[in-house]
Symmetry: C2
Subunit: 195 residues, 2 copies
Amino acid sequence: MADTDSGSEQPVPRKRADARRNERALLDAAAAAFVTSGVDVPVRDIAARAGVGVGTIYRHFPTRADLIVAVYRHQIEACAEAGPALLADSDTPHAALAQWIDLFVDFLATKHGLAAALQSDDAAFQTLHTYFLDRLVPVCDQILHAAVAADEIRPDLDAYGLLRGVGNLCIGAGTDPRYDARRLVDLLVAGLRVR
Amino acid sequence: MADTDSGSEQPVPRKRADARRNERALLDAAAAAFVTSGVDVPVRDIAARAGVGVGTIYRHFPTRADLIVAVYRHQIEACAEAGPALLADSDTPHAALAQWIDLFVDFLATKHGLAAALQSDDAAFQTLHTYFLDRLVPVCDQILHAAVAADEIRPDLDAYGLLRGVGNLCIGAGTDPRYDARRLVDLLVAGLRVR
DNA sequence: TGGCTACCGGAACGGCGTTCCGCTTAATCA
DNA sequence: TGATTAAGCGGAACGCCGTTCCGGTAGCCA
């Protein structure tokens, strides 16, 4: 895959020191604000925490989705990369699927409002939706196919549908002690088994 | 249970004619607006459709939840009342459960944004949440217990959790042809079966 | 050190939910 | 039927929020 620049020259000469500092401060402030107030926290709150103006947020992160993705990128990557490893290490593909989905639920359920944002049809969250799908659907698809090939689960659900379903079930997890998203996800995965 | 008024007198003397007319117009306008723009349609839009001022909406329906409940009350009642009937007519409690949940999904999935509103922790939707739970949890509970008693399903999920899970799975149904909420709900119910 | 320009801060704007108050008008009674 | 009264109405006004825009500031380089 060819890069846009042709080799030797540096097309992105490096940002100014204050810009780098502000970006860092914004990421830290956003991460903290997401924890205390959810990913729907007002833009002004994040700006205030970071000690910058609101314009600075939009300059670095044009949409809220860009900021959310930047904050959680490492964790999402880790989840994606864990897929093949689990598939290789587990006794059966179905066990790998269950464990991998557990990872995904652990991630989603602890991010206040993230699961809801993922399903939102608001244009501001388009990037978020796309990033999650691009990164996780192929991984899920791989495990799913392995499980189907091993005759462990029914072949009639694709990775996209499963991930959206799991994401949906995680909405509200952690805000209501009576609602146990993990158990419901377990039941859903159990429903996939051949009988 | 004693009524607040003591028998003969009429404590609610009957509203003025224009008030009754406006309430009717608002219900019709809201129903139409919900169909075209979802239950999150701006209050001003509903007021404009009904040909009234925004103040009139708040006078008749203090919160958005009150308006939504008023619009859908008949359908929710019908769903609730269908529960015992299905339980009596079906071959097995599990079949009744599946059919009843189908009814619930049919209702929810065709109301743009309603499933999301149901799970929202926004205070404006508190009444909505409460009404749905008060009306449907007992019905679901009855069918669930019958199925458990018949040894058809696992006893480890209560009606509240199941209804919330189903409601969550319905979020986004109808907006994305790739997402089939009904199938996921079926898988969830299948996961409940004893094996 | 001086100038260029990337970058910043926050005022300003529009959309929204919600409240409030002066006016309208349905209901009642002489 | 006409006067009285208060229930009810409309929409201006307010505050919150996302987003845009521009005058000013300060890093960077020659």
